[in-house]
């Protein structure tokens, strides 16, 4: 498995090409936009679909193979934001509040990056543990909390923790992911068969449509990248590699397959732009969205989608052969 052919296979997949089309549409100032309601509906579809499929697989899984990766994911959920906080001090001139906000985003995960990686691995014929979606749900929350904790150290006033935690936990990403998992566990493979055409067969097509819109959203953010400064660009491009390598290594050590370890790498490398921005905006309003949204959506998301995913896959394959 050489890294160039893996990267090329990823680049010509329909979802990634649709993302590129979105970027192009912005650069030529096209009026192309998905209606807001459609965008919301698709994001609900993706979250619920990923949740249900994960739940069906979780039902088949043995506790013995799940608990160690779960523990590793929890530890990474705390370690990654702390690393992001420290690393951003080294490569940017941002203050503690903005670095805490960055840590909250990079500690949390990106559903779409995860989904794109899952589709990429399935297309490559790579086995993936079904309970990886459980890890996605587990990794979503701690990063945000740790990031907010770090940001709060740079603030004069305390954060309203009960409101923040409540908002994160009752946010739709957690409700749909956790709810979908429960649904999948309850209904099992036979129940899933009845919704398979909708959540299975159509899934990659809907993801392609979603990535078209995200290409437009990311493309608009690209304009802010110029103002963000070189330090933030360096952070947005190199931190995913560090965090992703950690995730892949942790995944392989905890007994995950190459596919599973790749996905854990993608989870740790990706940064949130749905749950985290809202939580950060409400809890730490001084932090600049121009910094965290630009880094998360304008730099790291396209990087992971185009180059990161095949890199983590390649790295997992190489490391898996050694370990």
């Amino acid at each position: 498995m050489d890294v160039v052919s893996v990267a090329l296979a990823n680049l010509v997949s329909p979802p990634v090409l649709a993302f590129a089309l979105g970027l192009i549409a912005v650069s030529i100032k096209s009026d192309l936009r998905l209606p807001e309601a459609v965008y919301q509906a698709i994001s609900i579809y993706l979250l619920l679909g990923i949740g249900i499929k994960g739940g069906v697989a979780l039902r088949e899984a043995q506790l013995g193979e799940v608990w160690l990766p779960l523990l590793v994911a929890l530890v990474l959920g705390v370690v990654i934001p702390v690393l992001a906080f420290g690393y951003s001090a080294a490569v940017t001139k941002l203050d503690a509040v903005n670095r805490g906000a960055l840590a909250a985003h990079y500690g949390s995960t990106s559903l779409v990056t995860f989904t794109a990686a899952l589709v990429f691995l399935e297309t490559s014929g790579q086995f993936v543990e079904g309970f990886m979606t459980t890890l996605l749900a587990v990794l979503e929350v701690p990063g945000i909390i740790v990031g907010l904790l770090l940001a709060s150290r740079g603030r004069a006033e305390a954060i309203d923790w009960s409101a923040s935690v409540k908002e994160v936990l009752s946010g739709r990403s957690i409700v749909l992911l956790a709810g979908g998992l429960a649904l999948g566990v309850a209904t099992g493979a036979s129940g899933f068969a009845s919704v398979e055409p909708f959540f299975g067969g159509l899934f990659t097509g809907v993801l392609t449509l979603f990535l078209l819109e995200l290409g437009i959203v990311a493309g608009r953010r690209l304009r802010d990248v110029k103002q963000a400064g070189a330090g933030l660009v360096v952070f947005g491009l190199t931190f995913p590699l560090i965090a992703g390598a950690l995730g892949v290594t942790g995944g392989l050590l905890s007994g995950l397959s190459v596919g599973g370890a790749t996905l854990l790498g993608v989870l740790t490398a990706s940064s949130s732009y749905i749950a985290a921005p809202t939580a950060v905006r409400l809890a730490v309003p001084e932090a600049s969205p121009g910094v965290y949204l630009t880094a998360s959506l304008g730099i790291t998301f396209p990087f992971n989608l185009l180059l990161g995913i095949p890199f983590y896959y390649w790295f997992a394959g190489v490391l898996g052969g050694v370990l």
């Binding site: 807001e36 732009y273 905006r281 309003p285």
Partner: protein, 99 residues
Amino acid sequence: MELVNKHLLTVVAEAALERRLLEELGGVGITGYTVTIAHGAGVRGGREGDIEGGNVRIECVTSRDKAEAALAVLARDYFAHYACVAWLVPVEVMRAEHF
């Protein structure tokens, strides 16, 4: 026709604040309101906003006292850090018991 003097309080703020602002309004005794999705430009330029998109415009007809109490809360907790503007205009309403 019997018209009664009231005040119309309008708040335009980033959409993420909607739930919190409605709770604040309830806290000063304002229970009726209308919320609409809004977009526009202000002193900081047009807001591309977060990915969840845009602003909300919250309107409520109320007494001057309650409107001022709400504005005081906005000034204390929101104006400094959030994209949030508010204004108050006198209005005349029918069926004053609705407000």
